[in-house]
Symmetry: C2
Subunit: 335 residues, 2 copies
């Protein structure tokens, strides 16, 4: 194995010079262009590559950031990851991804990842990770940014869910819908304000229309639950003429329930989904969605983590604005 020392000998300089040439950091070393060239040549000739472990040990910094994502195959989160990756990479770091299912408070993975020298910090999604795991992380004093709305305790970054749902709902109201259902999403414990429900009501207030409060179904994100909720809504005396899907991932279940009931989209029922992913225009009919600046949220979170790693404090941030309606074919005026 080629070491820095070997390169130094070959170039006829001391290890310190090679180290400076590699890192770019000057430190106390100021070298001539000729020397730098000689070093680079020696590196090329020997095929030298820096030993990451040795560097980490010495600098007490790994340059690795770990993102723990809810579910790898969740297409919504893919955008966030891309934002994180771009930022981490342009900062010269490496992003390490793990599935949240693997990470429990006393899992092997958490222990290993949070061991010093493996990762400088974590990006996690609170909703799916569980507060206990995040607390465990905190107890280990590992810098950690939560991808979710502020909760007053952890540094956090997220998009404006309230504005997003408002955007979706306003679109339906503008089309003339009045009986609008909000389907999916978690039933929050009393006291924790539900930003999505707030956004739903914002839209009605803005339009000067009384909200159809009986049409809120926070039944989670499991497909059977979504299907049942929609089926039940359709069976009521005054069924909704439009549905806001709290998350694009549940839209297929909404379509499914509608098809089972023999209803057409958008002739009989309009559907808008929160969050935009590329593949929804493959649904039939193509789904109207609300696009959020998820990639920007990821980048912002990565930046906040860097701040944290460098020892500064950070609070909770919600990215303002950025909600944008992507009109496709699943919404129309009520019959």
């Amino acid at each position: 194995m080629v070491t820095l020392r070997d390169v130094a000998e070959r170039a006829g300089v001391s290890p310190a010079v090679v180290s400076a040439a590699i890192s770019g950091r000057s430190g106390n070393v100021r070298m001539s262009e000729a020397t730098r060239q000689r070093v680079n040549e020696a590196i090329r000739e020997t095929g030298y590559r820096v030993n990451h472990a040795a560097r980490s040990l010495r600098t007490a910094r790994t340059g690795v950031v770990s993102a723990v994502v809810p579910k790898l195959s969740n297409p919504v989160f893919e955008h966030v990851i891309r934002g994180i990756q771009d930022q981490v990479s342009s900062d010269g770091g490496v992003l390490m991804l793990a599935d949240a299912e693997w990470l429990t408070p006393d899992s092997h993975l958490l222990t290993r990842l949070a061991a010093r020298g493996m990762t400088d910090g974590f990006l996690v999604r609170r909703a799916q990770l569980g507060d206990d795991t995040i607390d465990a992380l905190e107890a280990m004093q590992v810098p950690c940014v939560v991808l979710a709305g502020p909760d007053g305790t952890h540094p956090s970054v997220w998009v404006d869910d309230r504005a997003g749902i408002r955007c979706a709902t306003s679109h339906l109201l503008a089309l003339g819908h009045r009986r609008i259902a909000l389907v999916g999403g978690l039933q929050l414990p009393a006291g924790r304000s539900d930003s999505r429900l707030l956004g739903f009501h914002d839209a009605f207030a803005e339009a000067g229309v009384a909200a159809s409060a009986d049409l809120h179904r926070p039944v989670g994100y499991a497909h059977p639950d979504i299907r049942r909720a929609v089926t039940e809504l359709l069976a009521t005396e005054q069924p909704p003429t439009a549905i806001v899907a709290d998350n694009v991932t549940v839209a297929p279940a909404v379509y499914f329930a509608l098809a089972e009931a023999g209803l057409r989209v958008p002739e009989d029922v309009s559907v808008v989904a929160y969050h935009d992913i590329a593949t929804v225009d493959m649904m039939w009919p193509p789904l109207t969605t609300v696009r959020m600046p998820l990639r920007e949220a990821g980048a912002q979170a990565a930046r906040m983590l860097t701040t944290l790693i460098e020892g500064e404090r950070a609070g909770g941030t919600i990215l303002e604005g950025g909600a944008e309606l992507v009109a496709r074919s699943s919404t129309a005026p009520p019959a």
Copy 2:
């Protein structure tokens, strides 16, 4: 920061004893149960956690394995990843995930990951990664297992695509279909045998039926291409009565094209897709698929990588069998 030395002092033993107690490896150290308990107590009291960088530097082993996956949100690959994760984790290692898009032959990420001391080895998918990146990896002498059929050069593991497509095709033949199209998949360069097309023909041969060779459309996996291919097939003089989707991810595009043409599934056209993912029963009608032992393939690949890391050679493996038809509602006898 608490070091191993601190723990040793507290427990009244030498660092060597603490090291042995942690790693479980006895080495030359044989310690009494009382000593071991004292050490464990000291670890708990001090909150000591091993420094991964130091250990890696010393042992020249990181315990980290990197998987470079085609596309994070590809639900098919999710199963493979799970298999990898299970195996790596039960071997006491850590799995690091990266998106193939990030990894190009001279990308920052490749350089950093392949730097010594960051990762012991790689699991990569050839199809999407590009041979040049794999060659770069090889030039760096990083142990590397390819998730794909054997190509004679790289150690590799994959499921039996030929058997999988045969299973799907046989199902349609058994239902009475004769005009069967195979849609999607890559157009391989001449000379490289296409295991999927072979499987397609196997099924016809087995059924004693002449294959409908004019119905093979290896147009890749892009949704517009799939849609166009299906639309064109439907416009021919003798359109297919059934379609095998080369990959489940293109099934929505097939449904889309069928819906556009005003055809019903399965009354007018039957559809089977290769690979099974949980969400396909949310499609309307629920999609019949072929399930493959993808998780097992992932585990097997991880095991092979460990072998490679330990310095032994390895060849190409195809997991035999395991193809299983999952019948849902998208297939029926021809009208």
